[in-house]
Amino acid sequence: MSATAQRPEDLMGLSDEEFDTILEIMGREPNFTELSIFSVMWSEHCSYKSSKFWLKTLPTDGPQVIQGPGENAGVIDIGDGLAAIFKIESHNHPSFIEPYQGAATGVGGIMRDVFTMGARPIANLNALRFGSPDHPKTRHLINGVVAGIGGYGNCIGVPTVGGEVNFDPGYNGNILVNAMTVGIANTDKIFYSAAAGLGLPVVYVGSKTGRDGIHGATMASAEFDDDSADKRPTVQVGDPFTEKLLLEACLELMATDAIVAIQDMGAAGLTSSSVEMASKGNVGITLNLDDVPQRETEMQPFELMLSESQERMLMVLKPGREDEARAIFEKWELDLSVIGTTNDSERLVLTSAGEVVADIPVPPLVAAAPEYERPWTATPPREVLGHDAVPAPFDLGVALLTMIESPDLCSRRWIWEQYDHMVMGDTVGRPGVDAALVRVHGTQKALAISTDCTPRYVEANPFEGGKQAVAEAWRNVTSVGATPLAVTNNLNFGNPERPEIMGQLVGAVQGMGEACLALDSPVVSGNVSLYNETNGAAILPTPVIGCVGLLEDVTQRMGAAFEADGDAIFVVGETTGWLGCSIYQRDMAGGSAGAPPPVDLNTERQNGDFVRASIAAHQINACHDVSDGGLAVALAEMAIAGNVGADIDYKPAIPVHAWAFGEDQARYVVTTADPASFEALAAAANVAVTRIGRVGGAALTLPGAEPISVESLREAHTRWLPEYMASR
């Protein structure tokens, strides 16, 4: 058989070369079902063909890492026999088409990735990017996405404890919905997907299979077009109630030793789950498709294999344990069906109505998956702007009020009040600023979790922006007193076949990698979402980082609220007044320009370690990292959180607007009752700290500005989002 063999008219998104490779692997022409399986397995989504080369460069090891990238989720050791299991995942495109169900099923999908490994999910977060508030679709999309995230998480009973939201016209035609889940398991009870062992039953559990989600770039085919449009809904509907039952049933079965391997059915459903289990276990799997529980009639083999119906799992059990498993799933009112067995053929064989409908060798299906080193061009460097390149505001106080009322900096209360952020009884405090803190049930430990990315920095300089995303997440976790342990990441970019977009991805990954290494926070899981474009316009490059840290004793946590009158306020880290790519520049001075603030990873590390040590030594009373909007915004947030003002009497040597709104990295605002010993500690640690004022009163007074009452700060901060959402 050679490349001259008859080509089907439709290669289902595969290239000519990829099709030739398939002919070689099969030694014959693949039938329609087989070609469908190759097509989805070799799609960008499942094969990571554009990004794999670069992802391999990321640091993924460390003494804390139990399982890095490659399984359903990453696993880290948090001591005392416990592990934190977490991952982030995108559901961008479906959320744009149908915001409620798209976001809901995104949440459902990432939770399955976590509990399939044996963890009980304890926290959900979400990183959202919407288009301009003026865009006619934005309000509807926010409404639907927030309701969908809440609808799923609230119902299943896992608290949604944090996240982030940005607005930019670059997302007008392509919003981003990235969902992260963190779970807890015992280190000796972690489940993997390798189906090792022969003659073992392959078991399907969960919802029945319908024609949901059989679609997309890979699958526009003549056969599909023959079906009426309403036979193939492209949008999946989430069923959080069934997922709750699936979660409880899986955890109950996992408490026994009946499971050999388990894998959720996510993208490419039964195909990718069965192929992955067979490949990792070096076995073959034969499935009888007639035994797959079906919701609709006359489903074709390729439909059963490609369906992305939600709330399903595939398991390999020890022989003879089927009845025990069935009893548990029946108690939870779920379907369980033995649909196949493992064998030594290393082939995926599918049968239906007594006939073989597909027969593919697994090792080459996985190993020969394409991997491209796509051409890329580096983003041209931008000029470093001086202070005078960004004009001062007419009035510093008015500028601050305007900024904290703006879409990107205002309070997210309207969002997080729609999420049950307290269920499970371990959420410490309420959402607010910095990392979320969730106690590990029944212990004194807590996990600190934050998601971060500043796309305008990444756009200006992908390498620095990639570093900054890691640094900011790490800083947020540090701010509450926790030690960052590892990160997960979601790479959201445009079309990788365009060299300038590929250059963004390369730069961001390199920057991330360097930061993860320097900050001892390896990447343990992640997700890549490419082709985020509409009409040739790409989104801002958005490599979202989710960082998880550990606080051994939750009672030692640090808050961001100003507390005691008279506490001295310090800035940790150096303030040069970097206004290039700042929010101030973008929103108050006519647009994003110049180089973004560089991240010095040594300083970042040193300052963060110092802050953490000061918290542990009970030296400080409040701590907040400085990010979007600079010092003035950080101070305003601390004043609002504590309902106490501050008098900032420091006289900066640089223009005051640059001092107040510049976005130099590696900085924190802290308060202390004992400034002398704090300064001594800082000197000993060789960390730059600057005393800038004191806590007290009912107003925030910035250098050279009128006092602004905390009440008016709060009003400005909370006004925009509810009003925007109520208007039309």
Binding site: I97, E98, Y100, Q101, S207, G210, R211, D212, D230, K231, R232, P233, V235, Q236, V237, G238, D239, F241, T242, R295, E296, S309, Q310, E333
Partner: protein, 80 residues
């Protein structure tokens, strides 16, 4: 004048509510139930006027607000 609107899930779209109701009916001992689908029924009281125009207007309301046409179908009847 009254518009009666039925909003139902498109064929093939999963109906978690219908599924749960079906299950619950079985639990209550009702047999012979093969499938349950749940939809919405909306009644709109309109100022009297032209029936044909009213029907077009209500269809427009469904498109814009009442139905999610990605996953739902709707039908409109005008009474009286």
């Amino acid at each position: 004048m009254k518009a009666r609107i039925h909003i139902t899930l498109k064929n093939g779209v999963l109906d978690p509510q219908g599924k749960a109701i079906h299950h619950s009916l079985e639990g209550l001992g009702f047999d012979g139930v093969n499938d349950v689908r749940q939809g919405k029924f909306i009644e709109i009281e309109l100022t009297d006027g032209d029936k044909v125009a009213a029907e077009a207007k209500v269809a427009e309301m469904c498109e814009q607000l009442l139905a999610n046409t990605v996953i739902e179908d709707f039908s409109v009847e005008i009474d009286g």
